[in-house]
């Protein structure tokens, strides 16, 4: 199965399902998450948030709040550095981030943080919020993408000029940036098209819905040294962003990662941490900040609403010959929607020579969007995968045949640029056809659909250390918060290299001072990139063990190999030992026990910037049943098929596939931000923001396909994000199969489906 990456090795632990090392902590309630940590003398912080969707801040008076018994500090944006508008690194603009953390001059969405209070109890802090006087000048707001792009739209940022347009416009606009991606000649290629289908799609603002609200504790000493205990997807990110926003040295801040209660991209930036740090500095006491669920919905990154126009031309055989796509994504209150990723993904599964993709990043009076699992890809797939299905129906070609006919494979040039190396799209499509679900009979009002999903996956920076204990057990130290079982994967990889039992490896997610820099847990990168660091660090331990054995045996280290957790002499070394009657393998425990005599502790380290994250493809197959009287769509059967490259811990790979499918189902069928006329979010709670519950879903079948990634020693490719990409179009295609109606607007909720049913039957 693994020839292509040169590793046809027999694995002992890779591919097995050991119980996760942090499991008992998590089933007994001992695991400590963001809000579970307290310090003596700790204060509690609460945030005052904007009651307006868009307003100028004319005056803030905190004196009455400060005078309340128990209140120790009140801060506004005056208490944090004002950063230059251009203060950016990579995609992160720190001036925007600073203004999102605490509004400066203007509030840009309902729920935008305006001030923060630290008090001896949460109750007192909340009372103090009511005593802060803020004078606002309300401004017209804009929530809708079309309205935000209109020439007379209320402008969020007076300094904003559309980037990516030549010449730079001289007028402010809500269009933060325009991007373009093209190849070949679309207009000429249209001549070869026998059929052209153009459709418009619309998706709603949705939220990651992580169950744990954002939370942290900060303690700043009199000398400025700061410790932050935070739940996040990246404590190195918390450290770097907080330092940048507060103009501190990175060495002044230590971040200790708490367990993270779900992130899905929503915990890849800072909200509370810089505020808690400043409040702690002002008061000389530890400060804890925990968001309410309402605040999580109103003020932390949702995923964008989108408008997508797709135009595909295909020849009679169903080969797509040209495509034009226009993607408009809402960024929220500050620039930075995932429209570029959406534009790069939308045609990625198609082998296509002529296309033009345009993307627009548009600000609106909603919270700044944050990453959400395969950011930007699900709405793009909704559009492309639905139109492809429509082409198949128009041409009366089997949709799976048509898909295969257009599929990218090794050597194809991806729409977003590079040539694909080993990828598993064809293999997942073949597994789909072979699955019994694909040909099972359907009931009345039921329909079946499938769709393909693509995600790049990321590599980025990781550091790991493997320490051999005196008895031959090992500690793996890395720095990526474990969001879904990655400790177990790290232990498996170390055990595989060291040749010891997986339960003799203890994986640790360490703080920012204990391990080298690790980029954020995101981009489906941890098992791939951090895993690679763990493998390299383990190999370093093995190398040292072989050297130690060589020195004990007094043979050349090149004559020692590592087998099943033992140093084994070979070649001339073996001959020498045989003569001395000493030719026996030296187990790791013996080497560890003797380390003091052979040179001291044995430790391996690796730091890397991992390249070559193999892209992931998934295909989902779904049966739905549509209630024609209510418009309710029931998921009857669901199968996910995905190329994992190599599944290190298959149970947690399946878990990613199932969890991604469930999130995609929620996105498809029910989830949406609902705003009132004043720009106030009307459903900031789990009762009205309707995420799937157990009763909404069937069992979710999983098929793991393994096309090894040649750029990873075991063939791993990221698995976490791609499973959220296919569900929306798969369900839309299934609904069409059931009732003959194409849904092009999300959510495909009962009222929206019913409206289409009524319209189709000629009703009003």
């Amino acid at each position: 199965m693994s020839e292509s990456n040169g590793s046809d090795r027999k694995f002992k632990w890779v591919g097995t399902r050991p119980i996760r090392h942090d499991g008992v902590d998590k089933v007994t309630g001992r695991a400590n998450y963001g809000a579970d940590f307290d310090l003596p003398g700790m204060l509690h912080a609460c945030m005052l948030r904007s009651p307006h969707a868009h307003a100028r801040i004319l005056r803030i008076d905190t004196s009455k709040a400060l005078a309340l018994e128990g209140v120790k500090a009140v801060i506004t944006s005056d208490d944090i550095p004002e950063l230059a508008l251009t203060d950016a690194s990579g995609p992160t603009n720190f001036s925007d981030l600073s203004r999102n953390v605490l509004a400066r001059d203007k509030v840009l969405y309902h729920g935008h943080a305006v001030a923060a209070v630290a008090a001896t109890s949460t109750r007192i802090a909340q009372e103090a919020l009511a005593l802060i006087e803020v004078e606002y000048e309300p401004l017209p707001h804009v929530l809708d993408l079309r309205a935000a792009m209109a020439p007379d739209a209320p402008i969020l940022h007076d300094h904003m000029r559309t980037k990516g347009v030549d010449p730079t416009p001289d007028k402010a606009s809500n269009i933060a940036a325009k991007m373009e991606l093209s190849r070949g000649d679309v207009d000429q290629a249209r001549a070869y098209a026998d059929i052209i289908i153009e459709r418009e799609f619309e998706t709603a603002t949705v939220h990651q819905g992580d169950i744990e609200p954002h939370a942290c504790v900060a303690q700043t000493n009199e000398d400025g040294q700061t410790t932050v205990w935070a739940s996040s997807q990246g404590h190195f990110m918390i450290r770097a962003y907080s330092a940048r926003l507060l103009q501190l040295d990175i060495s002044q801040i230590k971040v200790i990662p708490m367990e993270i209660g779900g992130g899905f991209g929503g915990k890849t930036t800072v909200y509370l941490e810089p505020i808690a740090i400043v409040l702690s500095r002002k008061t000389g006491r530890p400060v804890k900040a925990v968001m309410t669920r309402d605040e999580v919905f109103r003020a932390t990154g949702p995923a964008p609403a989108t408008l997508i126009n797709v135009k595909f031309g295909a020849n009679r055989d169903g080969k797509v010959v040209a495509a034009k796509c226009k993607l408009v994504y809402e960024a929220g209150a500050f620039p930075g929607s995932p429209v570029t990723a959406g534009a790069m993904c939308i045609l990625a599964p198609f082998d296509l020579d002529h296309f033009l993709i345009e993307g627009y990043d548009v600000v609106v009076n909603k919270p700044k969007t944050a990453a959400y699992r395969a950011p930007g890809a699900p709405p793009a797939a909704f559009a492309a995968e639905t139109v492809i299905d429509e082409i198949a129906h128009e041409l009366e070609i089997d949709p799976l045949d048509l898909r295969r006919n257009n599929a990218v494979s090794k050597g194809s040039q991806a729409a977003y640029g590079p040539k694909f190396s080993d990828i598993g799209l064809l293999e997942t499509l073949d597994a789909l056809r072979a699955h019994p679900h694909y040909s099972a009979p359907l009931g009345e009002n039921q329909g079946r659909g499938f769709a393909v999903g693509f995600w790049f996956n990321a590599g980025m920076q990781s550091s790991a250390e493997v320490k051999l204990n005196e008895d031959g057990t090992a500690i793996v130290i890395e720095g990526c918060p474990d969001i879904g079982g990655s400790r177990a994967s790290m232990a498996i990889m170390a055990a595989e290299e060291l040749g010891i039992d997986v339960y003799k490896v203890r994986p640790v997610v360490a703080d920012t001072e204990t391990v080298g820099i690790n980029d954020t847990t995101g981009g489906s990168r941890v098992t791939f990139a951090t895993g690679m660091a763990v493998i390299e660090a383990s190999q370093e331990v093995v190398k040292q063990c072989c050297q130690r054995a060589a020195s004990v045996w007094d043979i050349d280290p090149t004559d020692v190999i590592w087998q099943d957790g033992c140093a084994v002499a070979t070649g001339d070394g073996a001959k020498k030992l045989e003569k001395e009657d000493k030719l026996v393998p030296m187990p790791i425990a013996e080497i560890a026990a003797g380390a003091a005599r052979t040179g001291g502790p044995i430790t391996g380290k690796a730091s890397l910037n991992a390249r070559g994250a193999g892209p992931a493809f998934a295909v989902h197959l779904v049966d739905v049943e549509v209630d024609r009287d209510t418009g309710k769509v029931e998921i009857v059967r669901y199968t996910t098929i995905q190329d994992a490259g190599r599944a290190i811990h298959p149970a947690y790979v399946e878990g990613q596939m199932q969890g991604g499918a469930a999130q995609g189902i929620g996105w498809a069928l029910n989830e949406e931000y609902v705003y009132d006329a004043d720009g106030v979010l009307a459903n900031p709670g789990f009762l009205d923001y309707r995420m799937p519950v157990a009763l909404d879903l069937p069992m979710i079948d999983t098929v793991i396909v393994e096309v090894p990634n040649p750029r990873h020693p075991y063939g791993v490719r990221g698995v976490g994000e791609v499973p959220i990409v296919p569900p929306i179009p798969a369900i839309a295609n299934a609904i069409h199969d059931a009732i003959g109606i194409r849904m092009r607007k999300l959510p495909m909720s009962p009222p929206n489906v019913l409206a289409e049913l009524v319209r189709a039957s000629g009703g009003a």
């Binding site: 399902r17 119980i19 996760r20 942090d22 499991g23 008992v24 998590k26 089933v27 007994t28 309630g29 001992r30 695991a31 400590n32 998450y33 809000a35 579970d36 307290d38 109750r123 007192i124 990651q208 819905g209 992580d210 169950i211 744990e212 609200p213 367990e259 993270i260 209660g261 779900g262 992130g263 899905f264 309410t292 669920r293 969001i483 879904g484 079982g485 811990h649 149970a651 947690y652 399946e654 878990g655 990613q656 199932q658 969890g659 991604g660 499918a661 469930a662 999130q663 709670g685 789990f686 009762l687 995420m691 799937p692 519950v693 157990a694 009763l695 879903l697 069992m699 979710i700």
Partner: protein
């Protein structure tokens, strides 16, 4: 602020006393006053089930119960689920089935599942899904949770303690 009230109750079989304000919820007191942070809070509005506890054997959201209502009751939390060195079969099956990813909802699911099996030792898949619909999990898609509960029910063979 009003004075605190003295409450006497039994938590996980142990006589416990605490002081609380009238407005404080049971989950708040468990977490902030008694430092039993195994009971999680995801919403404080009774919608996510992360704070599920048993109150006199009845499954409740700790965030919807006032702490003073705990007077003279018996409360079971996640901290009381394992006995000594032995995990409860549900805890063991959650581990074996990889029925948790981030784990924040896990204590609530375990308590809710325990209550289910005490009411109905041999539930169908549908009954498990119905009963657990008060608990939100955003990571797993529920598949492995449902499988773990069904497996635990089987392994317990009706002995639901």
């Amino acid at each position: 602020m009003a004075r605190k009230t003295h409450v006497q109750t039994t938590i996980n079989g142990e006589q416990t006393e605490f002081l609380c304000h009238p407005h404080q919820s049971l989950s708040e007191v468990l977490r902030d006053e008694l430092h039993m942070t195994g009971t999680k809070e995801g919403c404080t509005t009774g919608d996510c089930g992360a704070c599920s506890v048993l109150l006199d054997g009845r499954l409740v959201c700790g965030c919807l119960v006032l702490a003073i209502e705990a007077e003279d009751t018996e409360i079971t939390t996640i901290e009381g689920m394992a006995s000594g060195e032995k995990l409860h079969p549900l805890q063991q099956k959650f581990l074996e089935h990889a029925a948790l990813q981030c784990g924040i909802c896990t204590p609530g699911f375990l308590i809710a599942a325990k209550a289910l099996l005490e009411h109905n030792p041999d539930p169908t898949e549908h009954e498990v899904r119905y009963w657990l619909s008060g608990n939100l999990c955003r990571c797993t898609g529920y598949d492995k949770i449902v499988a773990a509960v069904l497996d635990a029910a089987q392994s317990m063979g009706g002995d639901t303690r």
